[in-house]
Symmetry: D3
């Protein structure tokens, strides 16, 4: 056992290796934030999440999870990105994830803004077909585009739906709230058949009943978890670019993650972690992240 502050920072102090070969599960970073509409900074999400994950230990007292006992896991570093060309970055990410997926490994992604989920799902759907989705976010991210461009962090799930990457009847969006550029902002989601769970429906409630329904909705076919940190209330996760008040609590986030136990998870991500806005000391983002992954690993076991 070494002192916590010691060592080069890999995710959860796992070994670092160059490729996903031979792994059951791989942590991979995508340091991109040029799809951000308001405050940038999520390019430093992977670095910060790794640094803070030094707090995480092998076992979980509340759930009994001990993921490293049954899974081969490593940190395979970051996908390279093209900071000056957003569609170009999407192509680079897609190609990298094709290689990861080809090796039979489940990618756990450290973002990066929400744009990156689009090329990741392209790579996953090539192998698994359209996937189910548990999407935690303040925003539906189903815009038609912005400033004349089709691709940015607010249009990800419209892009995915249009390309047939999602099994639309098995999509749920949780934590949605806030103002919008459109008079009926959830219309697109409804038309696709997504379930939209407003933040207002979650206030002061346990989400265990919701997750029982979600497990039924998702069934046992391949599914993906996309967790935008702004789904949480900004008091718990100030380090993000487009915060919206009156969001989920960390307890609810854990209920969602733990509620995914037993589902057929083919990948997941935590996105929109922009550490420069969490000056109070980096406590929230990475711990949350760590807890989430911890559980995910267990789910796979």
């Amino acid at each position: 056992l070494v002192a916590r502050p010691a060592g080069v920072c890999s995710m959860m102090k796992l070994p670092v290796q160059a490729s996903a070969e031979g792994l059951d599960v791989a942590f991979v970073g995508v340091p991109l934030d040029t799809g951000t509409s308001n405050r940038p900074g999520a390019r430093f999400g992977p670095r910060q999440i790794r640094a803070e994950s030094a707090m995480l230990r092998r076992f979980h007292g509340s759930t009994g999870a001990a993921p490293f006992d049954s899974l081969r896991v490593a940190d395979i570093g970051d996908v390279n990105v093209n900071l000056y060309n957003l569609p170009g970055s999407c192509r680079l990410i897609r190609r990298s994830y094709q290689r990861i997926v080809a090796s039979g490994c489940v990618p756990l992604t450290l973002g990066g803004d929400h744009t990156i989920t689009y090329p990741i799902l392209q790579a996953l759907a090539e192998k698994h077909g359209p996937v189910g989705l548990v999407h935690v976010d303040a925003h539906t991210d189903t815009g038609a585009g912005a400033l004349g461009e089709k691709i940015y962090h607010g249009s990800t799930f419209r892009r995915c739906a249009q390309e047939g990457l999602l099994d639309c009847a098995r999509v749920v969006q949780i934590g949605i709230r806030g103002s919008s550029y459109e008079p009926d902002p959830h219309k697109y989601s409804r038309e696709q058949g997504f379930r939209v769970v407003l933040a207002e429906e979650c206030w002061m409630k346990s989400l265990e009943p919701l997750m029982r329904e979600v497990r039924v909705q998702l069934g046992d076919k391949p599914m993906y978890i996309s967790f935008d940190i702004d789904g949480l209330d900004p008091a718990y996760a100030p380090g993000t670019g487009t915060p919206e008040i009156a969001g989920l609590t960390p307890a609810q986030a854990l209920e969602i993650i733990r509620g995914c136990k037993g589902l057929n998870i083919v990948g997941c991500d935590l996105v929109e972690v922009a550490p420069m806005y969490d000056v109070s000391g980096e406590s929230e983002d990475a711990s949350e992240q760590g807890k989430c992954w911890h559980r995910q690993l267990w789910v796979k076991a």
Copy 2:
């Protein structure tokens, strides 16, 4: 549509105009904080609220509010204040609000410490007579005075009551908590007939039942909403001068604001926003503020 970071910062990117003439509703700032007993800084509240309001969009997904469709709204800038003379500032504010009120426009105020509500209510009561009040705050602000002075941010509502500006049977104070200089700190409020709702009564509860009662209490006569940001728990709104723990949540704040729908609102304010203490990035105060005003505009429609 322009990129969010673009443009000179007016409230919600509304047009700026010099007077309230021709408007239904006007945003107006009062950059004063010399009535503050502990940490100063609310003089920069209006500037910061405007800067952060760039996040707000025209429509609200949860409530369907679309205030700009039916109301003429603008930002009319700041009232000038005398930073070195607190009673003098109150006279300047009263005079400015007399002009706003005379134009038939409803003022939505960006504070400033809570002292400013006193001259604002002077101007409003001249036109409307004694008004009802929904007052969200950690403190009753009914002190007799402090350090030998009658006017400061902790005596506002005693001043108002003494001058007959309030319709005392239609006053409710929500979120009250903390220690006090007096052995029975709510005595004055009780004696005037104010309803005092302690924070303890709100913990872990929806405030919709309370607001149903409040709507009955307030009826359809003119009323004012005064929202001291320290009514919220400081985890959600650290940027304020006299924080008290165990306060309201943003969800509860939205329940209060939305619960005022249909009331006869003649003005409202958000006060005690001191942005320098919200170093983590300005997420809370202004979003909260924006949501509140967004709804207010809708209420008027």
Copy 3:
């Protein structure tokens, strides 16, 4: 009455005196943090808590508490510590508390990391015998040791149990959560007979029912309250060294403290306050602390 920013900062603006002689209750600081496993800084806890306690006033509106009316209270400054020798510091602390206890005074401690509770309980148990314990924390602090050492902030209550300082059937640990180095992290606590209340059991619930049970469990024999600030969710108390997500709320903390009313309190502490991580302005830690002590004083009255 003086302006709040005025004066040399003693706890709650109480008089400073060199010893505990003649006091019912004494505030005492222990500026030590070399038992910290992750982020240091709690050595500045006493200084910061004193600075922020300037916000506290004599009376409490919600509880009616007026502790200074019936108790002789003062701030007796800080215990000197040996920053370069952790066991040596423990000996210095034990000796200082022996003197405080000998004077018949109840010590209210401003920490400092959680290591300090070990020598404090040594001194208290010499006088009172094994004591009951209400322990609020994210961690059980019952590790066997770390990095080859027996004494650090994560092994405090194993040390205490092994030396017979605790009346194990009257120990309750509240708020426990997070990952662990051991597969069954609560085993030691269970074996001693401690009651362990997980954070998961507290989520979105009032703790008044729990505290009714705790009062029965503790009875009327001597007991101690040890409050690790990381028992709270880090959104409310970011200034600490080993934060864990999804913790208690300030409202729950007040329910715990107020729920101890009538118990036979022989001392209490607030530990792990590391102000450098609470950059947003010092609102939480000390207010929380102040509320707690305020109530404690009342309890004694």
Copy 4:
């Protein structure tokens, strides 16, 4: 005279107008930072510079400058940008500046990352032909490209030279320092005939002698001033994305700006102001900026 904190924030409290028509000089913002290689955030430069410029007063005690007495000046707001397409943004900027230049007005630009100087100089050179340049920066910004793209903040002046926008014999780069991706990092500048003044040549020296030479070099033909805030030592201007140690002092910066007096200035910019990294309170960037523009205005008079 109004209190400093009062009012909607335009640059130096100047009037805001929609176009440059009728002006001698116009402040204009370009809120773009997607050309940034390291830390993003300069998209908020214009907003922050405006907020801080409230400190600036009409006259300058040391230089006697009183620019508003002889020039028509206003703030014409921000150029819209396409945050998701860097070459597209460059086209938008070029077009906006063509309109400004067509009106006969001199643009003073608030950046934005250094990429923006490329389309600005395109617009200026269309009118004035190749221009001279005083370029203050830690970096020459003459890279061939990066990550496969030609346009980003590190290749601006190679792009400009290749398109014939610069009168290369009248270009000086001041403050250059730091490590590089190329073994001979100043080779390109030398080959074009630029004068490169290393930071090492400036250490602990007045730059008045240098500026005498620069005035001779630049002559009386049209010239542009491009001031990258990272030319300053990061102690004075921490709010920037690619800081390099051992840079210029503010006194030297003022010597450079004042040393441009009498030159034929057709435009200038301040770029790479990323306020989120200047948490200590925003003192430096904007004051520096303000001083610079103040003088610039005077220079024009």
Copy 5:
């Protein structure tokens, strides 16, 4: 010897006493900032300076100063102020200093905004007659008034001159710079016969030659030192309300303070320390302060 973080924070860990009786020299705080024109916060200057002065030790290696060997020194706490009435506060300060001066003790003041020097000099001049002045500042503070009031932090030395508190031929103002509301901002100072030393005259120079002249100018009659922290460049002292770029360095500040050795000092102050803007950790203000007082004490010995 105790650990540095230990103890209730008095200035330099000196004893605290209620009055100046029996002292040669007394530290006294004036926690007022309602005379501030831009960013408030100096009301917390005394508290912060005391906290940081824990770093100071008994002897000075470079100067050999050992002030406590020959002087009786203590911290006498803070003057009470009226936060809501600026002229009223001035009356309270004057009265408090009359008592201090009457005891024969030299006051070393911890500010507070620069307004406070006016009532302090009223009290000193009552005893000593008009005094000489070494005034370090970015601003001359000789305005006629502001916002309709005569008294604020920018008019202090005009008030003093008009009341005959200054021996005008023995006044020097060092570090003056920046923009101004008046076309000839140093005119008033010149007319009174003050020496004005611009920051530009100090750039990159030792101030020892200046201080030799100052010692001649001041002679051996009573004099006062008033040190506005904004005389320093804001890189060294960001914690202040009206920063101006290109100021003095700490080395120059020490040259000024050490250059006052042998003068007939009847009091001195450090003002405009607003710690909330020095988030990087409080290094500069108090150390500077400490060094200054350290030397001052020595000067008196």
Copy 6:
């Protein structure tokens, strides 16, 4: 070439390897801060220096240095430390460095507080005999001990001298300043024959002449460079525990480092980097560090 934000953070993006075997030069971290007398935090120095070193590129424009062309360099991670036992940590460090030295590799250390230089020099002197020393610091670190202990960050060089690890005639201490616990604080250094260069001797001067003398003094026998970041003025390096005003500038630091070219360097360190106090964004420490090492590598080539 990859984007700068990408990748697991090793020092300067060098390969990570488990031991020093086969290397000419190795970066190694020592995450210890329990020898700190004032503000802790240097345990996170190695992590932060690695994170910020992502800014460094292969070549240096001003010096022509290209160290990686001729040297085998890697990052060998961190020495494990015992956070709860300072002498125990020293033993662990000594043993680790014995292994590094045995491999024939030159260690470049990332600290950690200054205590760590003591066991490092024990290991180096075992191989090389007493070494020369260029020691940059605000403090001589020659105390006899503190709080009853011999080993802490203020006694390092007395420990080294007493154990014969230093060739005392070849020791120079640069940047010394500030107050002290002893009346003649440089006496011990003088008695050993160290050259002490006060900060006062460096103010506003190039240090090239000094370094010419230092090169003569040091000759061609083995020497070590120990760089305490507090040797710099805290404006340039706020992230440290015991800041002292009026220190060295980064330009002077580079003159010192570059002035060591050609000396027989057997190791060097950068210590006392406590990143939590450098909230403004981490620009200074690591860049400085990077520049230093960059040069060091070159020196070895």
